[in-house]
Amino acid sequence: MSQVEVSHVTKRFGTMTALDDVTINFTDGGFFALLGPSGSGKTTLLRTIAGFYFPESGTIRIGDIAVQKVPVEKRDIGMMFQNYALFPNMSVADNVGFGLRVRKVSRNEEARRVAEALELVQLGAFAARRPQQLSGGQRQRVALARAIVTKPKVLLLDEPLSALDKTLRVDMQIELKRIQREIGITTIFVTHDQEEALTLADQIGILKAGRIVQVGAPRDVYDHPVDAFTAGFLGDANWVPDSAMSGLTLPREPDGFRFATRPEMLTISQDRPAPGTNSLPGKLKQRIFAGTMATCIVDVNGESWKLTARDRDIPQIAANDDVWISWVPRDTMAVPR
């Protein structure tokens, strides 16, 4: 287990700059998510840490060793791929044992550690199967066992859950978190799914156009986005119109800042709320029922605001009625312009 330090790394493909002076630290034993839209450079960063790409400039340290010129096969990492990349010509046990065989571990030791890793992912009974005979979730676990069996310094995950359907994905998230805690390995996880990143990671790094925009704990990043892009990428943001700021209690002076709230922080009512809360008048446009939750679209001074709450907590209001939107002042985000 080691910490990973990426400093001033730049990676170009032809004329395209995929990583632009990226500096980020991954502390020992942490669970990190690299989050960003497609083309933001998150996968490039992961593959550069893995050693598939060598950066044009900058350094990468895994533990105490500078590895930016070391090819992937010598970096002692574990990696999980989007489509699992299980070897179809080998059994589950041989897949998991592949890295041990390469390291010339004795056959007894190999068998013991393979069994141990399969036990950890609860697939002890499937050692003799072929990957083709497994379900998506089981393949996923085999890929995880294969990535950690060599006790690598760092575990790299490239959108490993994106091929699973939603319910299975939630199960696997819990499982992944459990295993990561159990073995305490430094883990870097690439995803474009902000919910997944917020659920799993201790730390989130947000990328945009090859640059790191923000790094922080999930709650920090969610509550205190550094710019409009981050605010909008992590969840929906309702922007307070400049013309409506005067009557509101804001967390700071408005010069150079804009203010926003999250949909789940809002309350909707027909009566004007008591003073002490921030409130704005609007017009209910639409109410969308989605099981336990419901979403309301409200027109606030020409801006379209989104509100989510438990369906039963939202009063019955007809569309196009005048409403009040209110929230607790400390739930206001101040975002630099």
Binding site: K74, A85, R146, L156
Partner: protein, 287 residues
């Protein structure tokens, strides 16, 4: 299933399929069946009414050791050519499929398989020009080397092997390339992330996964080489007597068609055995 087709569909189906398959029946399958029949005759029916059924043509194969020797010689030739094609062609397919990318790969692949669809007779003839004594190869080598070399490869077994490798090499490259190209690059990346060297990746991943394609190529080389006669005739001269030329002789020189038919059928049987043995692996080639 037939049951789900209505009458109109059935009629259409028959209309579309019958001409092609009737043609194949008359031009390929009936001739093969007829030849099997003729191989049991003393003489061809068109040569006179006094023909009879006999096993002589097949027993000739057993009693005359020349025939068996030539068949073995042809099988050996097929093996040598196949092995050389694999040794030369597989690395080439590997480079094409896994090292070269994009438009360059497409263009190079086309260049490799283009000659294989061009006239085989002409290509064999071109080797005759290159290999003959005082030919281009000898002159070039003597111009480059400090000593004089008397290199007359023409009319040797080497010439036959070179010509056949030239003719059939693209088969092995084609099938191996298709098999290798189908292997997901993520598998290679995964193996590398676990510390595997290039050799390990080749040995434990690429080779096993592309084996069906490689074997398909081997069969596609081996079968026609065993039945080749034009190449040994042109490049082998007096050394070029093989099982294929033996059959050719029965039809164009000796005019013993029943014997030729029997010899052809023995070859066909050998080919079918080879195809049958290879078929479980080959099925994997067409995933």
């Amino acid at each position: 299933m037939a049951g789900t087709l209505n009458m109109t569909d059935r009629r259409r189906l028959a209309m579309l399929l019958t001409p092609a398959y009737l043609w194949l029946l008359i031009a390929v399958f009936l001739p093969l069946a007829a030849m099997l029949f003729f191989s049991f005759l003393t003489k061809m029916p068109q040569d006179g009414p006094d023909w009879a059924i006999t096993l002589d043509n097949y027993s000739a194969f057993l009693t005359n050791p020349t025939y068996g020797t030539l068949l073995i010689k042809s099988l050996q030739l097929g093996m040598i050519v196949s092995v050389i094609c694999v040794i030369i062609g597989y690395p080439c397919a590997l480079v094409l499929a896994k090292s070269i990318k994009g438009r360059a790969r497409e263009a190079l692949f086309l260049m490799v398989i283009l000659p294989f669809w061009s006239n085989s007779l002409v290509r064999i003839f071109s080797w005759a020009i290159v290999l003959r004594g005082n030919g281009v190869l000898e002159l070039t080598l003597n111009a480059v080397l400090p000593f004089d070399l008397n290199l007359n490869l023409m009319f040797t077994t080497h010439a036959v092997v070179i010509g056949l490798v030239h003719s059939y090499l693209p088969y092995v490259i084609l099938t191996s390339y298709l098999a290798l190209q189908a292997i997901d690059d993520d598998l290679i990346d995964a193996a590398r992330s676990m510390g595997a060297s290039k050799l390990t990746i080749l040995r434990r991943l690429l080779l096993p996964l592309s084996l069906p394609g490689l074997l398909a190529g081997v069969v596609l080389v081996f079968v026609p080489v065993v039945g080749s006669f034009m190449e040994p005739r042109i490049l082998g001269g007096r050394m070029g007597t093989y099982y294929g030329t033996l059959i050719e002789d029965q039809f164009v020189a000796v005019y013993n068609w029943p014997l030729g038919a029997a010899l052809s059928f023995i070859l066909l049987a050998v080919v079918l055995v080879i195809l049958a043995v290879a078929s479980p692996v080959l099925k994997g080639a067409r995933t």
